[in-house]
């Protein structure tokens, strides 16, 4: 006995809806499982050493001493330094492309170049950094009389800032071009110069959007792995200055996970958990500010 066509349709219909629901929940479960995996796998470390992970400051795998602090310090230093370096450049690009030249061949060329650069893989930035940036920093260090490592916090921050400028500038451009034209016109109609319109109308209006862009760029910088790993010098101590070699949370994982075993692996997974939480928090702040900016203006 064969099923009626209507029944076949119904079964297919149900199967189809079930597939959609399955796909949706699978996406949810992936994120949840990520989190659970990291928590469960790093749990043995906390059971064994309690909160030493956060309260001590030594990472010496041979002695089973594991502290995330050197890497938090390295991560924060490189990311903030890179944002600091990137800030004037990305602001200039955002203002140029969002206000001064919105259309035309020049704007299009700028846009293509920045898009292309945003697409260059991290590992190639790192490679270029080793070949070009490292010798430059080395000669600077020789001039200044510090140990010429070439690699370290500054070198990593420089390459990071190059990597985030295209991203930050494209966020900034979008935010600045969202400032309503009638507000700018009102300011011009009162005799403001273009600079005064930028300084008193555009930037204050776009302030929250720009703040959001700062957080999103910071999120990128914090999680960036390859270029930093190749240029930061891989030292597990809290960096003493911008020329010190260091490690970020991402770079220590990239460096040591392959050869680690036992509690060392567990500790690296715990570093991963901290990294995931930190980027999660930074990105949520950025996204929520951006959403409010886009809705409320």
């Amino acid at each position: 006995m064969s099923a009626s066509p209507l029944k076949v349709h119904k079964v297919k219909e149900k199967g189809f809806s079930a597939f959609l629901l399955f796909s949706g929940t699978l996406v949810l479960m992936v994120l949840g499982a990520f989190f659970v995996t990291l928590v469960l796998q790093s749990f043995p470390l906390f059971r064994e050493t309690g909160l030493k992970f956060f309260t001590t400051s030594r990472w010496v795998p041979m002695e089973n001493a594991f502290s995330v602090l050197p890497f938090i310090a390295g991560t924060l230093m490189t990311s903030f330094l890179s944002i600091l370096i990137a800030f004037p450049f990305s602001m200039a690009l955002s203002i140029l492309l969002g206000e001064y030249i919105k259309t035309g061949p020049f704007a299009a060329a700028f846009k293509s170049v920045t898009e292309l650069l945003a697409g260059i893989p991290s590992v190639i930035y790192g490679f270029w950094g080793i070949m070009i940036l490292m010798p430059l920093v080395q000669s600077l260090q020789i001039k200044l009389g510090v140990i010429p490592y070439g690699v370290g916090v500054l070198t990593a921050s420089l390459i990071l800032s190059l990597m985030i400028i295209p991203y930050a500038a494209s966020l900034g451009r979008d935010v600045i071009s969202m400032v309503p034209g009638d507000l700018k016109e009102a300011a011009y109609a009162m005799g403001a110069t273009r600079f005064e319109v930028v300084a008193h109308i555009i930037l204050p209006y776009a302030r929250s959007g720009i703040t959001a862009g700062f957080f999103l760029a910071l999120g990128r910088a914090v999680g960036e792995t390859m270029a930093v790993t190749m240029l930061i010098g891989n030292s597990n101590f809290i960096p003493k200055g911008i020329f010190s070699p260091a490690n970020t949370m991402a770079s220590v994982i990239a460096n040591e996970f392959g050869e680690a075993d036992g509690m060392h692996t567990t500790a690296l997974i715990a570093v991963g958990l901290v990294l995931m939480l930190l980027t999660g928090i930074i990105n949520s702040i950025g996204k929520s500010i951006m959403k409010r900016f886009q809705v409320g203006g």
């Binding site: 219909e13 199967g15 189809f16 809806s17 597939f19 959609l20 796909s23 949706g24 699978l26 996406v27 949810l28 992936v30 994120l31 499982a33 990520f34 796998q41 450049f89 990305s90 602001m91 200039a92 001064y100 700028f110 170049v113 920045t114 292309l116 650069l117 697409g119 260059i120 893989p121 991290s122 590992v123 190639i124 790192g126 490679f127 270029w128 070949m131 070009i132 190059l162 400028i165 295209p166 110069t193 273009r194 600079f195 930028v198 300084a199 914090v222 999680g223 792995t225 390859m226 190749m230 991402a250 994982i253 990239a254 996970f257 392959g258 997974i269 991963g272 980027t279 990105n283 949520s284």
Partner: protein, 282 residues
Amino acid sequence: MKELTVKKRMAKDRLFHSLVLFFASLVVIPLLFLLGYIFKKGIAVINWDFIVSMPAGVGESGGGIVHSLVGTLLLILIAVFLSVPVAVGAALFINDHPKNRISQLIRFTVDMLQGIPSIIMGIVIYIWIVLPMKNFSALAGGVALGIMMLPIIIKSTEETLKMVPESLKEASLALGAPYYKTVLRVILPAGLSGILTGILLGVSRIAGETAPLLFTAFGNPFLNTDLFKPVDALPLLIYNYSTSPYPEWIRIAWGASFILVTFVLILNLITRWVVKKWQIKF
């Protein structure tokens, strides 16, 4: 009452304009230099042999990177094959139930997934797949890359589906077509450009990813097409060769960088063409 003269204010205005131009051009210089450097160094290495042969031994000159090219293609295929159905399904689900609690959660998840550092993908997939199978594998690398593609495809698909007018859906349903057929025959084809754009964007995003492959695909000096064995990939090769002490390997790393950048560039151009050509207009 104090006031600057118009002359001074205009001078300030011009100064600001020049500053903006100055900083903007200053940043473009190293970036252009970077691009130029990759092309100059890369083109010197590239020839047919480089693309089709295996690497030469240490100390020998010549040789190619065919194993990495094949590996990268294999990884991309696995990633696309695994992520596209799930991503499109999830996007359709959100589109069908826009206000639903699960849809809102999925949107949030997509945002979060996009922000997860790629190295985390690597270690989690290592725990999920490499550890139980006791083997680094192309499959593990493909899964890691596939998860990285998910949010990109979901977002792009969802954006396009939003633009498919309700009336088109109703027209199909009014003809008596069952819902799943309406979706498969009417809505998805109408949203095809968005799905395609998402896949292209996703591929260009993952093609150069190194961190998620370090502990999954791992790398392999030999040609491999077995899903359950480790494979090499272009970015892995660049990483290993560029940090090596051999000048010949560094040359090869430039060649590989050139190929990778060109590949991403071509993908970008195709994406633009798709967006322009296939843009749905209703």
